[in-house]
């Protein structure tokens, strides 16, 4: 349905970006013991853009979300911004490739876990390449991978619920 209606594509992507920004800002407000442990709820908007449309749509949603979200949280062009945009785009790309590789092989939950793991791995590589020596950081790797798994499952579950809820509105997932 995606390609058939440009208006619908634009409006839906705008909505998804807005939802992504809200979740991004909301999550930035939740105090956590360690800043890099987050559920990644904003990834719901990326995943929905990918499933309802295609990979370019997911990129657009990630870019809008991170730029506008960083403006609102005051982290634009800071290291946190680099982390967010790098992790977000890589995660959208790998989720997109996984989906294209097998249209029905992965459920939204599987795609979400792939996305969240890509996100933390890319951020880990960025941090160890730019900011800290990798050895000291490697103690965090199990923690990061574990929290990404948990976050990915949560995001996937929410996305499945949302997809089911919006199906009567004419939003369908191709090949899913």
């Amino acid at each position: 349905m995606a390609a058939r209606s440009t208006t619908r594509r634009i409006t839906t992507l705008g909505l998804l970006a807005a939802v992504g920004v809200s979740l991004f800002v909301l999550e930035a407000l939740i105090p956590l013991p360690v800043p890099f442990l987050k559920i990644g709820l904003a990834n719901i908007s990326t995943l929905l853009a990918l499933l309802l449309f295609d990979m370019p749509a997911a990129f657009v949603v990630v870019a809008l979300r991170v730029v506008i979200g960083s403006l609102l949280t005051g982290t634009l062009f800071s290291p946190a911004f680099v982390m967010a945009i790098g992790g977000g785009l890589a995660s959208a790309a790998v989720m997109g490739l996984a989906r294209n590789a097998g249209r029905t092989a992965f459920s939204p939950i599987g795609l979400s876990v792939i996305g969240s793991e890509t996100h933390v791995i890319v951020q880990f590589l960025l941090v160890s390449a730019v900011f800290v020596e990798s050895l000291a950081l490697s103690f965090l790797l199990p923690l990061l991978l574990g929290s990404a798994l948990a976050g990915g499952l949560v995001v996937g579950w929410f996305s499945t619920r949302i997809l089911r809820a919006i199906e009567p509105l004419g939003y369908s997932v191709e090949g899913q």
């Binding site: 029905t104 599987g110 876990v113 000291a136 199906e167 191709e174």
Partner: protein
Amino acid sequence: MRRHPVRHGLTRADAIVIAAVCLAIVASAGAASMIASTGSLAVVEVDGISVLTVRLDTDAQAPVRGAKGELTVEVREGRVAVVRADCPNQVCVRTGWRSHEGDAIVCVPNKTIVRIQGQRSKGIHGITG
């Protein structure tokens, strides 16, 4: 493209991904604990002053002049021990071989401490969200 209702539950590919992630978590935890536990330097201090630093990756033996008498510090197979000491209780000798970062061998009469340290700088310099 045919349209299907949103799939319920996990697929086979999902299960494989989740299993692989669990495996990666266990493997990285194992690797991290191995890095964490093995020190790379032994520092010998007498009366609070560092008198000798030896690497744990090369076997060596060195005499150390303590406050009361002489001690022999030996490094073998990545571990360090005080193998002989001029002191009455021989607590340091009986402490045996140590290899973990943060471990220490202490000889009170000689005011001597052998500390095991990591080589890298510890701690995290900055965290971003």
